[in-house]
Amino acid sequence: MIRSILLAGAALTAVIAAPAAAQTFAIVNARIEPVSSAAIPSGTILVQNGKIAAVGANVAVPAGVTAIDAKGGVVTPGLVAPSSNISASEIGGVRETRDDGTGSSLSAGFDIAYSVNPSSPMIGLARDGGVTSSAVTPVLSGVGGGSHEHADDGVVEEMTAGKDGGGDPPLFGGQAAFVRLKAGEADIVSKSKTAVTLSLGEAGARAAGGSRGASIVLVKSALQDARAFARNRAAFEQGATRDYGLSRLDLEALVPVVQGKTPLLIRAHRASDIRLALKLAAEEKIRIVLEGAEEGWLVAGEIAKAGVPVIVDTQADLPDSFETLGSRLDNAARLNAAGVTVAINGARDFNNLRQERLNAGLAVANGLPYPAALAAITLTPARIWGMADQIGSLDVGKTADLVLWTGDPLETTTWADKVFIGGVEQPADSRQSQLRDRYAAGDNGLPPAYR
């Protein structure tokens, strides 16, 4: 009893002290996976003022600096989720907690950065799994369009925001953001407007009125409108332009896309839809990132030639729709072998980001070289989202987002022992671990609510 009260007191202190200053410390006796260079079988990483100060086999720990003995554990960059709804969505089946869907008022203009809740308890769960940052990407309301979402016993719930609006979803999913999952921060959005999302294929067809044939026509038209709008805003303000298919707010969001500054994140699955996406990019001279791409292996050479990065869920091997008939477990390996830049997603869902590193392991089991798999959950997504100057690898000068693992970070039997973001050790007190500890504590004569 007394002991548990003391522990509770300690936990409380930790919560209050959460926005701690960046520490100076070293992790010694670790296998270090810098990702940007070859693994160091046994080395030291030195962190000073929140940045990586030194990495190597023979790094001296300055006097007075705390040295954490990794005891042979593995240090990697913090994992980067390439496309999820963490912090913008709380409980799958509770509509009021879901702000990851476009809604019915906006299309490209929707901005998920305003949906982000830094206090979401699911952030702690993600950190427990070694995920330290994520691209947060909106989906079309009521359509989804990301990867595998869970529905128990086939009772499908479509509860993304805006579902109540009725009618077909808008053409574009809205603007994505990038968040870093540091505890105690008031603002965790590192970057907003990082992409505009678009679905092709079945979800895109629905957004375009019900058929694929309308999809690209409407998208091209919207991009043309955005160009015209950008060229002559004054005319638009005076009502001297032809009618545009999208609102001013939506056109505004597409301007950086047509200027080549911001990519379209395109969810496409069938080989033919991927080809359409590549063609769209070439014709419109825009940057794109592909998500899904279950049949990507069938057009791997074309994707590589176009230099388009791809975000895949490596578990997707089922012909679960008519646009994923060619799904296979070695999709990532085949794409990589063809020269495609591959990032690996876990689930899109906030509650299952644990799966990302295991999906990388699964890709290795199915032929993806280990270094590429590790990069696919760290440096590659950081590059895709323009964050690689700060995070994604263990290079001197980068922000110290890193994880000390008990073993191989891609392995089921490994867990994240310590997680650092910006050089600050993160609390391991997620809601799930608090529940666990309450009930694992055993009977103390009072109901669990007192523990």
Binding site: E90, I91, G92, G93, V94, M122, L125, H148, H150, D152, D153, G154, V155, E157, A271, E295, L298, Q315, A316, D317, L318, P319, D320, S321, F322, L325, G326, S327, R328, L329, D330, D349, F350, N351, N352, R354, L358, G361, L362, V364, A365, N366, L410, E411, T412, T413, T414, W415, Q432, S433, L435, R436, Y439, A440, P448
Partner: protein, 487 residues
Amino acid sequence: MTRWGTTAAAVSLLALGLSACATTGTTAKPQASAKPAEKAEAKPLPKGLDGEASSGFPSTYAPLPSRPTAFVGATVLTATGQQIDNGVVVVQDGKIVAVGGPETAIPAGVTTVDAKGKWITPGIIDSHSHLGVYPSPGVSAKSDGNEATDPNTAQVWAEHSVWPQDPGFNRARAGGVTTLQILPGSANLFGGRSVTLKNVPSTTMQGMKFPGAPYGLKMACGENPKRVYGSKNRSPSTAMGNVFGYRKAWIDAADYARKWDDYRAKKEKGEKADAPKRDLQLETLAGVLKGEILVQNHCYRGDEMAVMIDVAKEFGYKITMFHHAVESYKVAPLLAKEGICSATWASWTGFKMESLDGVDSNAAMVWKAGACVVIHSDDPIMTQRLNQEAAIAMTAGNKIGYGVTRAEAIKWITANPAKAMGIADKTGSLEAGKAGDIVVWSSDPFSVYAKAEQVYIDGALTYDRNDKRYQPKSDFELGQPGQGAFN
């Protein structure tokens, strides 16, 4: 996990009740025909009116061709609590005949397979699957898992929705799954009967049906039924409406069972008796009350489990397993006491209110309390890697110092689901006399890198990762991109 012994007897008793009709099972009762034929009522009911005499939908499963085989040199997880290094497993005529260390004698005429460096486990059993009833592709024409037209559809049988060409069966087999319990969905309080399948390619459902497996009844607690019917302005629309729905149905079932019992008793005595009209809904529920059909109860929350246990006591039936039991860790001692299994994912949480308190150590905490743990999938993706899901659950336990071994955790996806499906006398562990349902893994099956290399069902090679002749493909996938090759 030896504490299972307290309930094993009950379960194996239930397992006896299996038959195609499954209302009263095969228990031999004195027949009225022994009586002097002084009363004309003794003649049998017209075909189809007596559930006990129903021909049902019998299994036509026959094992694929096999040859006597000895697997030599692998690390063997027996699912009886043992890990045998450099082990030997001998299979003959579809059955395991010997399991042991390197000294194990190999009978003459048995083909030896060098399994050095490999691992061998029993075939994986997924006790919560919707393969076939919610197949790939997931289009509405094939959405056959929920008869969501009434909160009580105990009368429907999942086997009548199973599409044997679901490509998911082939994926699951490549993940080592040899046996599946296919359940109706959870839209209803009573979803209908489950069916247990051998995961063999077949053109008919009957060709997959596990001979001698008892039926299960899918029940659902919680949010799904009250949402589905509440949104139609029908009962149940609340949790209390759910419980009313169960109790009302059990009253009707008990009454129905009594009427049939009375009829049969009278008939036995040679008295005049009028048979009640056969009712498929009540017949299934009465089968539960008689202990012949196992209750498979979708129930996330610990407090709801406690209510369901009381409902079961009120009507004298037993709950065999709670499914999606993400809060079992909160009531683990109760579940241990009642001898009820918990089927759970390793760490899924937060996808709905009733899953909000899911924790990754759930399985390990329930195991620690001495209750029966099962890792299930409810998912055509996860079913392909239940070994990894068990590994995640085991690791979560070890993170808090529980010392869960592979020899224990393997039971969560083999022996324990076999018990909860009433087939533990037939499969689920590597013991002499049990079915030769065996997976040869490339490495430690608890590793993310492990792959099922060979899968044997009743001693017959059914999948071989390195031999295209043993990589069956569904009709659906012919002529499609990839031609059904998924790895």
